[in-house]
């Protein structure tokens, strides 16, 4: 098997060499996206030799919205609603990381109940995202039931989040200093009931989707990312955990109350598409466990939000805080010049780092494995473009 560097050099040569196709070309250039049903808001050009992919050139940037620049024209609070747009299915985790960073700049302490509710919302939203991701993975493999079931069960958590935050998808729930509002009456019982039901459904998922022989044939030993390559490429989240590295920000750099919780970092050693699709599933199981713990350990009453001045500002300086999102490490680097508006905001997202592995994994694989590898990388094109 060719090493990562060799593959890179080889594909670079190939990309420069063939500029346009002629009739007697052995290679065929295919444009996957942005209007291809198997790409999302993203385009990558591949060259195929028969059924094998010999070259892949990712071309992100179709949904670049300048989120980072937009942050410089708004104050710290106004930034929240537009910052969650890159991944509306995982919006709480984006604002979580941003709020942590702003809290450090402004210098406020979040009340304990606020910290718990925030972590709860984050875990619920992680479930929503992972289910949506799993649904798309199903449709990429041509499994329509695998699309419908997670999409339907996603409603469980969307309903909970709606009761908690008032919005179904874009919550804008985390704000610097805590969360916007307290939990509603009877939320705990409802949440526990729905999570218990979901745990039963997860068993069915395992039996019907993951133990299906055809699913395993499609994904096992496909697009293997070794431990060393995973470290070299700097992938994150479920992709790095699938390659045998138990790295989770929640465990490695615990934020808020995550060091008080009892949970395991789920990882697999094979590093193939199956592992990359199975680790998020294990994460969902673990998240159910975490949600139950959070609901149990939560202080029964108290403030959920620290008092904040109307237009908060802190001293000049810079800060970097990150959280574990559905796609891996999601960090915010904020530079403040002492005014209520940030001087510079930099989002570091897991999607972009995972996308870098795509060309190396696709080269040498079959065309039919392209969707199985591409979506297993836990890549969200809109987030990568920011």
């Amino acid at each position: 098997m060719a090493s990562l560097e060799d593959k890179f050099e080889e594909s670079k040569k190939l990309g420069l060499q063939i500029v346009r196709e002629s009739e007697d070309d052995r290679l065929m250039t295919l444009s996957i996206g942005p209007q291809h049903p198997g790409s999302g808001h993203f385009r990558f050009t591949i060259k195929v030799d028969g059924d094998y992919i010999v070259y892949c050139d990712p071309d992100p940037g179709y949904v670049h919205r300048g989120e980072e620049k937009m942050c410089e024209y708004r104050n710290f609070i106004q930034n929240i609603p537009h910052l969650e747009r890159p991944v509306i299915h995982d919006s709480t985790n984006i604002t979580y990381s941003y709020s942590l960073a702003v809290e450090e700049i402004v210098g406020i302490e979040v009340p304990r109940r606020g910290q718990y509710i925030r972590a709860l919302a984050s875990e619920l939203n992680r479930q929503v995202y992972t289910l949506y991701w799993l649904a798309i993975y199903g449709i990429f493999l041509g499994h329509s039931t695998m699309f419908m079931w997670p999409t339907g069960d996603r409603e469980l958590f969307i309903d909970l989040l709606e009761a908690l935050t008032g919005a179904r998808v874009t919550h804008a729930y985390n704000i610097p200093g805590g969360v916007r509002n307290d939990m509603p009456e009877g939320f705990k019982d409802r949440a526990i009931r729905q999570v218990r039901y979901f745990e039963k459904r997860l068993k069915e998922y395992e039996d019907i989707f993951y133990n299906m022989p055809l699913f395993r044939q499609r994904t096992e030993q496909v697009g293997v990312l070794t431990k060393e390559d995973a470290v070299k490429l700097g992938v994150t989240g479920s992709v790095v955990r699938a390659s045998g590295i138990p790295y989770d920000i929640r465990k490695a750099e615990p934020y808020d109350i995550y060091n008080e919780l009892d949970f395991k970092v789920q990882y697999m050693k094979t590093g193939d598409s199956f592992a990359r699709s199975y680790v998020p599933f294990l994460d969902m199981k673990e998240s159910c466990h975490i949600i139950e713990q959070l609901l149990d350990k939560m202080p029964q009453s108290g403030e959920v939000r620290a008092k904040l001045q109307p237009n908060p500002k802190g001293p000049a300086g810079e800060v970097y805080r990150r959280v574990e999102s559905g796609r891996g490490a999601l960090g915010f680097h904020i530079v403040s010049d002492g005014t209520p508006k940030p001087y510079r905001v930099k989002m570091s997202v897991g999607s972009f780092r995972n996308m870098l592995a795509l060309p190396f994994l696709l080269v040498g694989q079959r065309l039919a494995d392209m969707p199985a590898i591409y979506w297993s990388l836990n890549y969200w094109p809109v987030e990568a473009d920011r």
Binding site: L30, G138, G142, T145, M148, W149, R218, A368
Partner: protein
């Protein structure tokens, strides 16, 4: 929200309908009736029973519709009726329509959805009609650089070839369009056209994704053609005939062949799925890989025709399974020997044996169609190398096993003429 014009008057609406009825009556009386009379005068018509069909007899039919029964009875014996109506195209198309409806609702129930719900009020039964009207209304876009004659001809050829398979299927004793002695060979000869049509159409589309899809269709259908034929061969050995009616009669005399050659039935089922390009074998149309495969450049009614053809093909292959392995029309007699209807007696048109046979045949065919639909709910798409491996290595070996079983049954004196299990 209902929208209607501001100056809407109910009286005007009724008036316009009355106006329309008036004009229709005038035109029918002054133009339509004379035309019918001219036709009836100059076209020689066959005698119905003991009387000749005259314009005067025709006029009495308008008053007493029960007098049309002998004409219908006479028409039902013609070839045109068989090709166009009962064992032929209309019957197949109706089953295809029912298949689409069942597929939608059945799949929806598997996936915890409701399926089509609005068109036609009751469970969306008119969804297909709405889809058809939509497809007819859409523009047909022909890609630039396409090979136009083939691009237009391929969808029509697809439906025609599907319908050609239907002509060979015996639905009830005596009810078959083409009762040839080489029926089973003819089936596979006709099915051999499909990869050719797919490849021609994909080449004519002048686009990359259809081309890859067409090549995949070719690979897949050729890989599965041989196990397909070999699995049917054990049926030929058991029944001793290539005539499809003969195959059914051989099963009527003993037992259904699925009890003797279950592995062949399984191979036939898997090969049918591959032939139909249904999930998990829908590689030629793999959406996430090659957009829509060889159907990428289709639009409007070209797409509609290809879908119609593929659903008629589904019926044809399900019916072939029933003929080969499930005893065709075999089943207990549940229809009464005769019945009468008030007002217009359709009793003379009623044949208890044919009705019973059709009932059981249709029931079994729908059972098979459900089995063809089932994998779509539980399975992802498989990869081309696994598919070819399955086709060339596993299924061919499996079908040979049952061929030897069939030979043993014949030479062991269990089946065949004068066998132990022959009634």
């Amino acid at each position: 929200m209902a929208t209607y014009p501001q100056n809407y008057r109910f009286g005007e609406f009724i008036g316009s309908i009355l106006w329309l009825v008036f004009w229709i009556l005038i035109i029918v009386t002054l133009v339509g009736l004379p035309l019918i009379f001219i036709v009836l005068f100059y076209v020689p018509l066959p005698p119905i029973g003991d009387q000749v069909l005259t314009p005067y007899l025709f006029l009495t039919m308008v008053v007493d519709p029960s007098r049309t029964i002998p004409i219908i009875q006479q028409q039902m014996t013609t070839d045109l009726f068989r090709v166009a109506m009962f064992p032929g195209f209309t019957y197949a198309a109706l089953i295809a329509a029912a298949t689409i409806f069942i597929e939608r609702k059945f799949l929806a129930k598997m996936q915890l959805r409701v399926g089509p719900l609005y068109a036609g009020k009751i469970e969306g039964i008119f969804q297909l009609l709405a889809d058809g009207l939509k497809l007819i209304a859409k523009e047909i876009i022909v890609p630039s650089g396409a090979d136009k004659p083939i691009f237009w001809a391929a969808p029509i050829a697809f439906v025609a070839v599907s319908a050609a398979v239907v002509t060979l299927i015996p639905v009830a004793p005596g009810w078959v369009v083409a009762d040839t002695d080489v029926g089973l060979l003819a089936v596979f000869a006709i099915l051999g056209f499909f990869p050719l049509i797919a490849l021609l159409f994909s080449w004519a589309s002048n686009s990359k994704y259809p081309f890859i899809g067409g090549l995949r269709a070719l690979h897949q259908m050729i890989a599965f053609e041989i196990p397909f034929i070999l699995s049917a061969l054990s049926v030929v050995i058991l029944s001793g005939t290539l005539n499809l009616t003969g195959v059914v009669e051989a099963q009527l005399q003993s037992y259904w062949f699925i009890f003797f050659v279950p592995i062949s039935a399984f191979v036939f089922y898997i090969s049918s799925l591959a032939e139909l390009e249904r999930i998990p074998f829908d590689l030629p149309e793999a959406e996430s890989e090659i957009v829509a495969g060889w159907l990428t450049e289709t639009s409007g009614m070209i797409y509609g025709l290809l879908q119609l053809g593929s659903y008629i093909k589904t019926y044809a292959l399900a019916a072939l399974f029933v003929v080969f392995f499930l005893g065709g029309w075999a089943g207990p007699q549940i229809f009464p020997p005769e019945f009468q209807t008030p007002l217009i007696n359709v009793g003379p048109l009623y044949d208890p044996v044919a009705a019973n046979a059709t009932f059981w045949f249709t029931l079994k065919t729908f059972g098979m169609i459900m089995l063809f639909l089932l994998p779509r709910g539980i399975s992802p798409r498989i990869r081309i190398d696994i598919l070819l491996h399955t086709g060339w290595y596993k299924l061919i070996v499996l079908s040979f096993i049952n061929m030897f079983v069939a030979l043993a049954l014949i030479y062991g004196g269990i089946l065949g003429p004068g066998g132990l299990l022959v009634r």
